[in-house]
């Protein structure tokens, strides 16, 4: 009953978003690119973290591999951007599939810590290789075209969201959710847990790598520390959890809302912006632990009681 209306709303929002860079100021377009890339990254994290329940800190590694893959292909081998992007993505997916097989046996904290280590190792490796420009990094050819990068980022968000929407309504997605909820029971019901986890990790990696490649070409400069920044991975998690992990639109909404709040805070009260941003996160986790997506879904029914119910349910 509500479905067609919601779908029309989403399409309308997409059209508006696609139109923005053609009329808005350059600074807004730049803000938009960052916001959209964060939304895509969050959506990628949503697949492994939100649906499969594996808190990955390795997505910034895939982001970095995408960035470096694209940069190396364009600089060293003089390939066009599209091919470089594809190459970076393939590298990240192979990496995810190989390492995933090994580290996805670990659960909970152990998995998180192991992926955290992965990022550190990659930074060290890339800082010492000739082809990656050691720790000085790489400078990509300059392309002045913020509108193009904006539309590219928007396309990535749309594709990632369509993938997640498919997952949510497919056998594959039910398998992932079963793994998240109870891995042993999932296996006993016939879910090939190892294969499903590796597939989810690889899919997540592909989206991260695409975002990394687009960002690298846009910003034209990458170095090991910024490309494999754990802080970015933390951002993906915050945004996804804020928006609603394991939901289709949650991560995108989370990225939009938090990017907006963060932008307003840093321009209005620049010095203490971080403090207020932290407060926003804490309040959100206490009053809407299932994220914005759940709030939208159930606010109609519960109204303001929704927040009180959450506080009570979590015994805070």
């Amino acid at each position: 009953m509500k479905r067609p209306l919601a779908r029309a709303g989403i399409v309308a929002a997409f059209v508006v978003l696609a139109g923005i860079p053609w009329i808005a100021s350059p600074s807004i377009v730049q803000f938009g690119i960052n916001m959209l890339l964060l939304a895509a990254l969050a959506q990628g994290w949503n697949i492994i973290g939100g649906y499969t329940g594996y808190a990955s800190f390795g997505n910034s590694v895939f982001y970095g591999l995408g960035s470096y893959g694209t940069a190396i292909a364009m600089l060293r081998w003089h390939l066009p951007f599209g091919i470089g992007l594809a190459l970076g993505t393939v590298i990240a997916v192979i990496f995810a599939a190989l390492f995933g097989r090994a580290i996805l046996r670990l659960r909970g904290h152990y998995f998180a810590i192991c992926t955290l280590g992965l990022a550190e190792v990659m930074t060290a490796i890339v800082s010492n290789l000739e082809i990656t420009g050691r720790n000085t990094g790489l400078v990509l050819p300059l392309l002045r075209g913020d509108v193009l990068f904006y539309e590219l980022s928007l396309a990535l968000v749309v594709v990632a969201t369509l993938i997640v929407a498919w997952i949510a309504h497919s056998r594959f997605g039910y398998g992932l959710i079963a793994i998240r909820e109870n891995e042993e029971a999932a296996a006993a019901m016939g879910v090939d847990t190892t294969r499903y986890k590796v597939l989810a990790f690889s899919l997540s990696a592909a989206i991260s790598a695409l975002a990394g490649g687009i960002h690298a070409y846009w910003i034209t400069f990458i170095d090991p520390v910024s490309a494999f920044d754990i802080g970015l991975n933390v951002k993906m998690i915050i945004v996804t959890v804020f928006g609603g992990p394991g939901s289709i639109l949650g991560p995108v909404l989370g990225a939009f809302v938090l990017s907006g709040i963060s932008e307003v805070l840093s321009t209005e009260i620049s010095t203490v912006a971080g403090l207020f941003f932290g407060a926003v996160i804490v309040v959100a986790v206490v009053f809407m632990p299932r994220g914005v997506a759940d709030l939208i879904r159930r606010f109609d029914k519960y109204r303001w009681r929704y927040f009180a119910e959450n506080v009570r349910a979590n015994r805070l």
């Binding site: 398998g175 999932a186 019901m189 016939g190």
Partner: protein
Amino acid sequence: MEPVLSVRHLTKRFAGLTALSDVSFDLGRGEILGLIGPNGAGKTTLVNLISGAFRASEGDLRFEGAPIGALPSHRRAKLGIGRTFQIMRPFPGLSVLDNVAVGALFGTGGGHRQLAIARELAHQKLEFVGLAHRADRPAEALGGPDRKRLELAKALAMNPRLLLLDEVMAGLNLAELEAVFAIVRKVRDEGVSVLVIEHVMKAIRSLSDRLLVLHHGEKIAEGKPQQVLSDPTVIEAYLGRRRAAHEGAGT
């Protein structure tokens, strides 16, 4: 006729502790085999070995003639082995219906690929176990007896040929017990073989075609319920020495 499940010399050791020792038995098509024994006798370990949650230390497991001892759980599920868990494991984040749909989407032969068909099938199973009115509730909202029904529906949705029931009846009242009996019998009548672990003695006696008794990880008796339950060794192991003496004097 070839047994559906054939267990030979099955042994499981956990770091020095022998949980199951040299257990052998067969389970025929459409047969209900009751597995009893005191706490810590190795009943759940046996179910875990058959379902693939654990690997046996020694021994041979055959399902419909094919060796399955080396297969991971999901492959055994695909072959047609469905189970419930003693400590119930619903997928709390999913609705009751979707919990059961997972069974239909995977399960025997890889299940149904289409979500719509799987959910339709899940609905039938919920009706079968009397839980259809709760289909849209989140699984975590269910109370004890309903959770047992849900576990059963999930296993049934896999369309198994061998069903392993690990204490699905504990904690149910008499009427609920009768309802579960009826379900298990109906399933059996469709040709499914059932291995059922149960503590409720009355339940297991009337439901099972045969009983198997484990004690300290060893098989101490196997046969018709009446015969097994009057076996002095079983009475002593299961009910204790004093009760055994009492039973002996009483009759």
